[in-house]
């Protein structure tokens, strides 16, 4: 209770919103994300004209479109980053419900764009891929459940979140979208790990993931072809991965030069899943390493800031969001580098695609919101410990 005393200095009701935001936000992460998006646009200039040409559109049609999506994503990002953790939680859980419904209705209204999996809603001006939005929303939901389970007499949040995870993975596998399914599983695993999973159980989960992979290999020809292509000792240069690997080699350290690359005209997914190959060919290893370092900075800074976090929900949600983002980037680059079997996974912010970039904006926006510096009661804690 504030006591109103005459003559006392007026109590400030709060800092103005924007200065507070700027003071508390992780500006390095913001900078990294801007840089990544800039690189994405730059690569879009290189990678998308062949596609535009194929579709009979003006050469920079997709770049313009991406710039518009990027602007939208940025607005979303900034908006999300201004939320309080509580608002993040509410927004995330609500979004999860909506996205989940959209995901369930995919088989009815979705289209597959001739790519072998029903993952998209066609919206006329563009397409909408619910599973991209599912990831941040799911992370928030699961973090909420897990944090709640740590309260005294809290609900069995871990079990519930695990059930939700399994359900989602099942739906995604049915699409089939093993890439997103494994990301969801990975995100949940990270949160459970942070929330104090017993080591034995973690090993068990790792085993289950391996078993699931084997099942996917045996059950789906789609997956089988990709994994076989990955396991083949020498790359078949006629596959996407073969072209990508060759493009990386062609690029060398400094690239073949702007606009000189060829891989973009061979690869149907040059502007999305294999954007990094375009980067490697035209700008060389330098740009690839820059991209990797930018993602690493975003992830590691988020984790570092979460070290000081006292609120379990923020901790779990932040770790989950950062991991999902980092893992997605790593899988994308790892596929092009032939470290991982081919998965249809975009490079957040860099790849072309409205769903992808806006979802990435939401993810990083929430991450920024959660990693904002807040009064954490650290002093109280220290005092208590010392005086204890």
């Amino acid at each position: 209770m504030t006591e109103m005393v005459h003559g006392a200095a007026p109590v400030s009701v709060g800092e103005p919103l924007l200065p507070k935001w700027w003071r508390t936000i992780d500006r390095w992460t913001l900078l990294c994300v801007c840089a990544l998006f800039g690189i994405g646009l730059l690569l879009g200039f290189a990678a998308s004209p062949p596609l535009a040409d194929r579709n009979g559109l003006p050469p920079f049609f997709y770049v313009q479109k991406q710039a518009i999506f990027g602007a939208m994503a940025f607005v979303v990002l900034l908006g999300c980053s201004m939320l309080t953790p509580r608002q993040v939680r509410r927004f995330g859980v609500l979004a999860f419900v909506l996205v989940f419904i959209a995901l369930c209705l995919l088989p009815v209204f979705g289209t597959n764009f001739g790519k072998g999996a029903v993952r998209w809603y066609s919206l006329g001006f563009g397409s909408f891929q619910p599973s991209e939005f599912l990831k941040p929303a799911f992370v928030i939901l699961a973090a909420w459940l897990m944090a709640a389970s740590q309260d005294l007499d809290g609900p069995p949040g871990r079990l519930i979140s695990f059930c939700v995870t399994l359900g989602l993975v099942a739906i995604l596998v049915l699409q089939p979208d093993y890439g997103q399914a494994s990301l969801i599983l990975f995100g949940w695993g990270v949160m459970y790990f942070i929330a104090g999973a017993p080591w034995l159980l973690l090993i068990g989960i790792a085993g289950a993931v391996v078993a699931g992979g084997v099942f996917a290999y045996n059950a789906s020809e789609h997956v089988q072809r990709r994994i076989d292509g990955y396991l083949a000792t020498d790359i078949d240069p006629n596959t996407q991965i073969g072209y990508a690997a060759n493009a990386i080699r062609e690029g060398g350290i400094f690239g073949v030069g702007v606009g000189e690359g060829e891989v973009k005209s061979y690869l149907p997914d040059a502007h999305t899943d294999f954007i990094i190959a375009v980067a490697a060919e035209e700008y060389g290893l330098v740009l690839v390493l820059l991209v990797v370092v930018l993602y690493a900075i975003v992830v590691l800074r988020a984790l570092a800031r979460l070290l000081r976090e006292r609120d379990p929900f923020v901790r779990y949600a932040g770790a989950g969001l950062a991991s999902v983002l980092g893992m997605q980037a790593m899988i994308n680059v790892g596929v092009a580098a032939r470290l991982l079997p081919t998965k249809g996974m975009t490079l957040p912010f860099v790849s072309y695609g409205g769903s992808s970039v806006i979802a990435a904006g939401i993810t990083v926006g929430m991450l920024l919101a959660l990693t904002r510096t807040r009064p954490q009661g650290r002093i109280e804690d220290l005092l208590r410990r010392r005086g204890g």
């Binding site: 740590q150 104090g196 006629n238 990386i248 390493l289 790892g334 470290l339």
Partner: protein
């Protein structure tokens, strides 16, 4: 909290709230609300749990951070190694999935071309990229007379994005299609197998077909003959520059085909076959089967009827026949080799000869007894049957086995292993007697040629081959040199004074044996008006160099209104013509007969 700070790390959560009664009672005494104490306890416990979770999470967040550092590091290193490695040249494909269209040439023994690859194009279309399909269809139908406009329209409007139109195009057709100028009509690089000699050696070469087809290349696969038997060798990238050299002599092959074709017409025969083989090495210098085909346009196999009537059927290798009297030399030679007889031993040839309920008789009755040589010269079934009975079936079987009559020939044709000789199910006395004159055992003309070569070349086994051999290597001995010489002398007598008198070719000492075998009818008996007429032999008889086997299937000649079917009238004169033409090509030196005998006077300078 009272305990020392370090306890917090290890000690379990303080259980104080479970022991609240003392405090609560004390509080009650003091008149305080015990619920507050309870709440304070709860809050403390909650904080404690949170603290513990947070400390654990701190460690785990560090682990997670390390994981990401390691993972991003791995990706970066991998990218680095990949970027610093040399780019692979974009090849058509890698590993076992490659389509190779290259194929080595096939040449004859003198290096003349029998089969080669020619670069050509295949035509395919991307209908969705075509600008004017009706126009293109009209023009294509003009360029490819075999294609109708309706078919082409159906093909190009089927909704598919990729359709093959023609497999192989001539350069003129390529130009004509270019002139249509439609961007959706595209050419695929092809290599085409070409047999520049057309049907010559068609059965030996076999043929090819396209295997897997791609836009850059199409696989060429052997389907028959040498092409299939040597498929791996011919498509081996390491040996492309190395043509496969056959034992065939193109000139002799051409001559043989020409002569046999003439004979076939003359005698209205259903088919003919000929084998000319080096007597010492087993190299087949010519092998013809008629009717034949053009391997550039290999016909489809017959879908009904007897495959032996198809032009694809190689009579010399695949056809197994009862070859008749040409077999008679085998029991006689075996008896000579065993020392049972000499060429002058008298043999009982009383015809007919009764064996159980069977009766063996000669074509004509040649009297009650003949010398061994005369048995061959006159071709007496009874004489050889008696010799076979003397020798016994076991020994006969063993002897024919040594000559290679019990197994398929080892010649390098994919068809050869399928041509198993037909042996009697029960090789008893009567069977051995019929086999002695060439009935009851069916074998291919090539078997016979190899058998004759082994017997007559001095007595060492030869295996027939289509690959050129350098130098001879003696095989295992089959009969003694003396037996071989005696057998040649007998065969020479057949030509000079016996059934093959039309077979003599001045200077080349042809020796051979005729065989006129009634063809077996489907009812298990023999036709009385269908024969397989064979002439098999060797030249020159005194110094054997080449062995030949020529057969005509169902040939006959009408002389004075009477049909003559015996080999002496049909096959022998044709063979004589064949030898007359080919012996000089083969480099066989004719023995110049004394001038006086020739009835000519030597030209001399004089007045």
């Amino acid at each position: 909290m009272t305990g020392p700070g370090s306890d917090l790390h290890d000690a379990p959560a303080p259980r104080r709230p479970l022991r609240p009664l003392a405090r609560i009672l004390r509080a009650r005494d003091r008149g305080e609300n015990p619920d507050l104490i309870e709440r304070a306890n709860r809050a403390e416990r909650h904080d404690h749990i949170r603290d513990r979770a947070r400390r654990r999470a701190e460690g785990r967040l560090l682990v997670l951070g390390l994981f990401f550092v390691a993972a991003f590091g791995t990706v970066a290193v991998r990218m680095g190694t990949l970027a610093s490695s040399d780019p692979a040249e974009p090849v058509l494909s890698a590993g076992g999935a490659s389509i190779t269209s290259a194929r080595a040439d096939i040449v004859d023994r003198n290096g003349r071309l029998l089969a080669t690859n020619v670069v050509t194009s295949a035509l395919y279309a991307h209908p969705h990229e075509m600008v004017d399909i009706p126009h293109a269809v009209r023009e294509l139908a003009r360029v490819f007379p075999g294609r109708s406009e309706a078919d082409l329209t159906a093909l190009l409007t089927s909704g598919r994005k990729f359709v093959w139109i023609e497999r192989t195009l001539s350069p003129e057709q390529v130009q004509a299609v270019h002139d249509i100028g439609d961007p959706g009509l595209l050419f695929a690089a092809r290599e085409m197998r070409v047999y520049p000699n057309g049907p010559l050696a068609a059965h030996i070469l076999g043929g090819v077909r396209y295997g897997r087809e791609g836009v850059q290349a199409a696989e060429i696969l052997g389907v028959a003959g040498i092409e299939k038997a040597f498929d791996d060798r011919l498509s081996d990238p390491a040996m492309l520059a190395d043509p496969l050299r056959l034992s065939i002599d193109l000139t002799v092959q051409t001559t043989m085909r020409e002569v046999l074709e003439g004979g076939m017409k003359l005698f209205a025969a259903k088919g003919a076959s000929g084998v000319m083989m080096d007597a010492h090495t087993g190299e087949i210098v010519a092998m013809v089967s008629l009717p034949d085909f053009d391997p550039n346009h290999r016909p489809a196999p017959l879908t009904s009827g007897d495959q032996a009537d198809s032009p694809l059927f190689n009579r010399a290798v695949q056809g197994v026949y009862e070859l008749g009297s040409v077999f008679k030399i085998f029991p006689v030679a075996q008896a000579l080799d065993e020392g049972l007889i000499t060429p002058d031993t008298i043999i009982d040839t009383q015809s007919p000869m009764r064996v159980g309920r069977h009766r063996i008789s000669d074509y004509r009755n040649y009297g009650p007894e003949l010398t061994a040589t005369r048995v061959i010269v006159k071709s007496s079934n009874v004489g050889t049957a008696r010799l076979a009975r003397e020798l016994g079936s076991e020994k006969q079987r063993e002897f024919l086995g040594r000559l290679g009559f019990l197994e398929p020939t080892s010649v390098e044709l994919v068809e050869a292993p399928g041509a198993k000789p037909l042996l009697p199910r029960n090789w008893g006395e009567i069977e051995s007697m019929t086999i002695s004159y060439g009935h009851g055992l069916s074998s291919s003309p090539l078997h016979l040629a190899a058998g004759y070569a082994s017997l007559l070349n001095g007595g060492t086994k030869v295996a027939p081959t289509l690959q050129r051999r350098d130098g001879r290597s003696l095989g295992p001995r089959v009969v003694s040199e003396r037996t071989s010489a005696q057998a040649r002398a007998m065969l020479r007598s057949v030509v000079t004074e016996g059934t093959a008198s039309f077979g003599d070719v001045a200077g080349y000492e042809v020796g051979g044996k005729t065989g006129t075998a009634d063809k077996p009818a489907p009812n298990g008996r023999y036709y009385d008006d269908r024969v397989l007429a064979t002439f098999a032999g060797v030249f020159p008889a005194s110094d054997p160099e080449y062995v030949f086997v020529v057969t005509f299937d169902e040939g006959h000649e009408i002389v004075n209104g009477e049909p003559r079917r015996t080999a002496g009238w049909t096959t022998v004169p044709v063979t004589a013509e064949l030898i007359r033409r080919t012996a000089p090509l083969l480099g066989v030196r004719p023995a110049i007969e004394p001038v006086v005998q020739s009835g000519l006077r030597e030209a001399r300078n004089g007045r």
